[in-house]
């Protein structure tokens, strides 16, 4: 989806969470308020300290928008394999 197609990109929500898992290459974060979770590579994390489980994080994000009904079969196949 092109940046211009996002309808709500300027509506930024403040998200807070904490680190639940630290891997060599990334961290897993759980959001407060049962708003979800995410797993990101270290490159996408800004930190003054070594990431550790239990540290709190904050960021802003716009609401994810589903672009269309089209389904990418390759991704579907990979996801089904995992189950």
């Amino acid at each position: 989806m092109a940046l211009e197609d996002l309808k709500y990109k300027d509506n930024l929500m403040y998200m807070q969470g904490f680190i639940t898992k630290v891997k060599d290459g990334g961290v897993e974060i759980d959001f407060k308020g049962r708003l979800g979770s995410m797993s990101i590579p270290l490159r996408m994390l800004i930190s003054d300290y070594k990431p550790e489980v239990g540290q709190t994080i904050g960021f802003v994000m716009s609401h994810p928008e589903i672009e269309s009904n089209l389904i990418d079969e390759t991704y579907r196949k990979v996801m089904n394999k995992e189950e």
Partner: protein, 623 residues
């Protein structure tokens, strides 16, 4: 926020807008004016409406308001009395005048007069309103660039770095030489022995099992020989593209290296659950649609791939040992091919000579390459024994990411084995360093003295980033450089280091040019006053990481622009400010400028020439 007198002077030609409410009768001073840098943002959010009748800061300073103005009001003629006339403002701010002029680019075709004896050296660290006059005969011998500021009007911004006195002994000095011998291979097949016969490369079938057994984390490995007829086959994400090369004599960086033409090793893989090894996006899909052929780091159309498909233990794709195991297992295969290449007694089809010169008397330039070092697959192996090998190399993460100096020949002789699994479009693969365009072009450029290539890793934690950056600064300081080019791959928190390196170099008075993928998705979020000369490596139509291998990496067209921009900055030219939002036309006008002045740049194609992959059709570029 109001501004200081210094900022007001720098932005004398920018719109004058009040920062707060001011009563009629107030004398207009810098601390009443809003910061011009944020005016576009204010205008965008509707808080400010800027008309054409808005006066500039230079015009209103010293005047008096005749009406009370609210905050964020553009100051127009009808509310001010005692305006300075245009002539007076010009006289007061010669610096600004210089900034306004659109400079013709420096013409670099001229042979420099460095060997001209009796050249006077003038070095002015920081001057103001300098007025120099020279008799024509002496001025002519300066060999100054065609349109540099004329000798009797020097801006306060630039040091007049005239050529240093150079006698006839200032010739280029050869430091080391590397010869690459090319051997053509037209067919690759699995057989009982690893050997090269004529133009056929045979690989021992039993080698695959040995490669799997050599690494605990590797559960399985398959080898596919992909010929051009198979380019429409599906492939897992490409983790690295590697030339097959071996030392015939000498150490890495000098002597003679043998390399195979027409065949590359392509490392691909997943973990046992099928999750791609690599985090931001993957280039999996039909090969023909996910590779930007011909880029320095990508396969060339017509290459045969020895494609290893490695399966590593589940969930180890984001752990450090995982990707490393995949690379090491693949390297076991490549190493046996290297031995066969060493033993091959056939004839080479061609030879390339790379000479590293030092050119005393010329502008001393350093190339700084920022590489990933956050851990796991964001890592590189530095200086293996064999070109692009793994044995003998040390990961830059283990080196603490501190700067490591390589000679230009060490870089292009396979001194870097890239593990980096960042976004495929901006990833610098091992083959990229083997054919690094910026290093190659800088080595050949007789007008600059390339003193080395400094690799610096990008750690995760901010404190470590600045620790490493300051060490880079100290090295730069001790080298007494005339200019530096900083490149980085990918985007993300490595842009924080990128900015810091610019500061470390720039604050020591060294002109610096930066190269990075930026455009839309990688827009720089950090910056400083030294990041004024930047080259965007983006080539994608939409300005995004579009998961097409090597699409947005540094190519010859970027190298030419970077070196031209550095020469301009070193000569004291002003680089026009970047636009707020990514505009692909800025790059095109730079290219036009260079083409008009004799520097032919061949523009490369982007992903638009590839047949659209499913991902592009459905995700990135829906029609």
């Amino acid at each position: 926020m109001s501004i200081s007198a210094e900022t007001a002077k720098k932005h004398a030609n920018d719109p004058a807008v009040t920062c707060c409410r001011f009563e009629a009768g107030s004398e207009i001073k810098p601390d009443m004016l809003e910061d011009p840098a944020i005016l576009p943002d204010l205008a965008d959010s509707g808080l400010l409406v800027l008309g054409d009748d808005c006066l500039t800061i230079g015009e209103v300073l010293g005047g008096t308001l005749t009406e009370t103005l609210d905050a964020l009001t553009p100051i127009t003629k009808n509310v001010v009395k005692g305006l300075l006339s245009k002539e007076e403002t010009k006289a007061e701010a010669p610096v600004v005048q210089h900034t306004e002029e659109k400079h013709e680019p420096v013409v670099y075709e001229q042979t420099s007069n460095y060997a001209n004896p009796g050249v006077v050296r003038i070095y002015i660290g920081e001057g103001k309103d300098i007025d120099l006059e020279f008799p024509l005969s002496v001025a002519g011998s300066f060999g100054a660039p065609v349109s540099a500021p004329s000798v009797n009007q020097v801006s306060t911004n630039s040091a007049v770095a005239a050529e240093s006195a150079c006698t006839a002994s200032c010739e280029a000095k050869e430091v080391r030489k590397l010869v690459k011998k090319h051997y053509k291979i037209e067919k690759v097949e699995m057989a009982d022995k690893t050997v090269i016969e004529g133009t056929t490369l045979k690989i021992r079938k039993g080698l695959i099992k040995e490669a799997i057994d050599s690494q605990d984390l590797v559960l399985d490995m398959k080898i596919d020989i992909i010929t051009p007829n198979d380019y429409d086959k599906y492939s897992e994400t490409i983790m690295d593209v590697q030339p097959i090369a071996t030392k015939e004599s000498g150490e890495l960086g000098n002597g003679v290296t043998r390399v195979i033409d027409g065949v590359v090793v392509v490392v691909t893989g997943t973990d046992e659950d099928g999750v791609q090894i690599g985090e931001f996006g993957s280039s999996e899909g039909i090969l023909d649609r996910n590779i930007m052929w011909g880029r320095p780091g990508a396969p060339d159309k017509g290459d045969i791939f020895i494609k290893t498909q490695v399966t590593i233990k589940a969930k180890t794709n984001m752990e450090r040992p995982g990707p490393l195991a995949a690379h090491k297992a693949s390297d076991k295969i490549t190493q046996e091919i290297r031995e066969a290449l060493k033993a091959f007694d056939g004839k080479a089809v061609g030879e390339e000579e790379f000479v590293q010169y030092r050119r005393p008397g010329h502008k001393k330039v350093l190339i700084i390459k920022e590489i990933m070092g956050q851990g796991a697959m964001h890592d590189n192996l530095i200086l293996p024994v064999e070109p692009v090998g793994t044995l003998g190399a040390v990961p830059n993460v283990d080196l603490g990411n501190v700067p490591v100096m390589l000679s230009p020949t060490e870089v292009i002789d396979g001194g870097i084995h890239a593990l980096t699994c960042i976004g495929p479009a901006s990833k610098e693969t091992s083959r990229h360093y083997w054919r690094e365009p910026l290093v190659l072009e800088a080595m050949k450029d007789e007008e600059i003295d390339l003193c080395g290539v400094l690799f610096v890793g990008s750690p995760q934690i901010n404190a470590e980033k600045f620790y490493v950056s300051r060490r880079l600064g100290m090295i730069v300081e001790s080298l007494d450089l005339d200019g530096a080019i900083i490149t980085t791959e990918g985007f993300g928190n490595n842009h924080i280091d990128f900015a810091s390196h610019h500061e470390q170099v720039g604050m020591r008075g060294v002109p610096v040019v930066g190269c990075s993928f930026s455009a839309v998705q990688g827009a720089l979020v950090v910056g400083n006053e030294y990041m004024t000369a930047m080259i965007d490596l983006n080539k994608s139509k939409q300005g995004i990481e579009n998961e097409i291998l090597s699409n947005n990496t540094l190519c010859p067209e970027d190298a030419t622009r970077a070196i031209a921009m550095l020469k301009a900055v070193m000569a004291g030219e002003e680089i026009k400010e970047a636009e707020r939002k990514w505009n692909p036309n800025v790059k095109l006008s730079n290219v036009e400028l260079l083409n008009e002045n004799g520097l032919k740049i061949e523009m490369l194609e982007n992903e638009q020439v590839l047949e659209k992959s499913k991902k592009r059709r459905e995700i990135y570029e829906v029609e």
